[in-house]
Assembly symmetry: C2
Homo-oligomer: 292 residues x 2
Amino acid sequence: MDQEDIAHVRRFNRSLTRRIGALDESYLGRGRPLGQARLLFEIGPDGCDLKSLRDRIGLDSGYLSRLVGLLVEHGLVDLDSDPEDGRRRRATLTAAGLDEWRAYDELSDGFARSLLAPLDPARRQRLVGAMREVERLVAAASIELDPVSPESTEAKACLASYVGELEGRFENGFDAAKSRPRGPASQPPRLFLIARLEGRAVGCGALYDFDASAGEIKRMWVAPHTRGLGIARRLLDALESEARGAGMKRLLLDTNRSLTEAMTLYEKSGYRRIARYNDNPYADFWYEKMLG
Amino acid sequence: MDQEDIAHVRRFNRSLTRRIGALDESYLGRGRPLGQARLLFEIGPDGCDLKSLRDRIGLDSGYLSRLVGLLVEHGLVDLDSDPEDGRRRRATLTAAGLDEWRAYDELSDGFARSLLAPLDPARRQRLVGAMREVERLVAAASIELDPVSPESTEAKACLASYVGELEGRFENGFDAAKSRPRGPASQPPRLFLIARLEGRAVGCGALYDFDASAGEIKRMWVAPHTRGLGIARRLLDALESEARGAGMKRLLLDTNRSLTEAMTLYEKSGYRRIARYNDNPYADFWYEKMLG
DNA sequence: CCATATATCTGACTTAAGTCAGATAAATAG
DNA sequence: CTATTTATCTGACTTAAGTCAGATATATGG
């Protein structure tokens, strides 16, 4: 990463900050402080309970209570108890509040429009495309890997998605029980990693012991909407580095012919096809990589 | 421009706002309110006079005075009168101020680095490229066209750059006096347009009367660092629309063989090669367009 | 039922950020 | 030299934004 790349990112941040500040300014044009405006906008046409508002915008509970109070006072918001949990309170927009919400929505739309309008169609498409690219790659950069227990809710949720997907993709469906790694029955993995994007699990991968000097990679999965961000690559790298740290000399893995992206990844990462080394009924190809 | 494009721009704004907010947070980590931190950072290693600070950040003069006062009090900034204009005051960083400036600079660098670091080199390049594209296109969208007097300082500055460039590009140099449009001596243009990017003139173009039913486009120029943003196209469109409004049926223009981008633009915009219609010694090609 | 946790509210604060009306001193136009 | 403009400063304000320590009422696990 050279200094010039960094300078570009900094310039980008600066120029965007200024521009986005302009959106805030336009919000102020409705004579309401930014905090209240944002809150009103976040409550939205469907309403919202205060707890989730607090989580989303990150406000002190006392402060939030007062801000909502002001909106109620101005006749923009109604506040009732949540029927399911008497401690919680739900905020919903009144008719006047909904009008205001629409006005803010219009401002945001108008702002976006003002970025696109002066451009010819070709440049417009390029801008939208570049924005999407920036967004995706910035998301990719904010992925975090965390070791978790394979028994944790998060791990189980990932595995369920993994199984669900294989069921759909494999010609004969998939039954997780038949694809256990060998060794002592239901041997736990040495490391189970979760990939998180803004706190939500969007991928997983596990490293198992195979024999005294080898490990096995299994349960590699990435949520469909986050593919192409290099998450699988990072999971694989992290698992390999753990394997090296544990003194393993060799890594094994198997895969199904329908998982073409996975096979591409393995081959790019230095895995080479070998003969069948297990009796996994879902495996079509077997790979190994010597750890240097 | 469809609703989906707008939704993309809005999502982009939202996700970037959050991320850029994180940079502000990191600035706060040095125990100084954001206003002071930004001011210190803007003063920079070379110092700066208060007037230009005010223009750049847009602060109330009283407020700025007090903010700088605080920085002086904390031993971070020195304040002296400008030797050239006794009303102005120059702020310069003390040794301690410079250390602080470096710390903020490091934070910005670190922030940029944290966006790039988790990515593999290919994705890193894609991110930097996409950021540059967004920046350029957003700049393109914020270009504004203004009619000005051809005698104004801005117009003269543009024309000077235009002449300077032609001198360099034409095989036999360029003398503006020899390339006057025909008609009553030094006839003023019907419309002289300036293209502005963030207040600075980065391009120009003029529409002259040629005869009772035709106009002539001349003095089309775009600053080198802003080429590729579609500025010339927008200037040309605006001049044509003025010509239509004035009842002109036909537009003429001439150009030199070395101005290849210009020729491409004219041809894409519907201009067709015609025979020589004037005695401009620098012209190699002549074009016309019928206004529909 | 009890202890504890959770969601919200209230009161009493602090601080940042900014506005506005002059005052002051230096530059500039005539 | 005088009137006006310009750049900055000072004093007196306002408002937004946020923090913190309880108080209160409701859920939840045992």
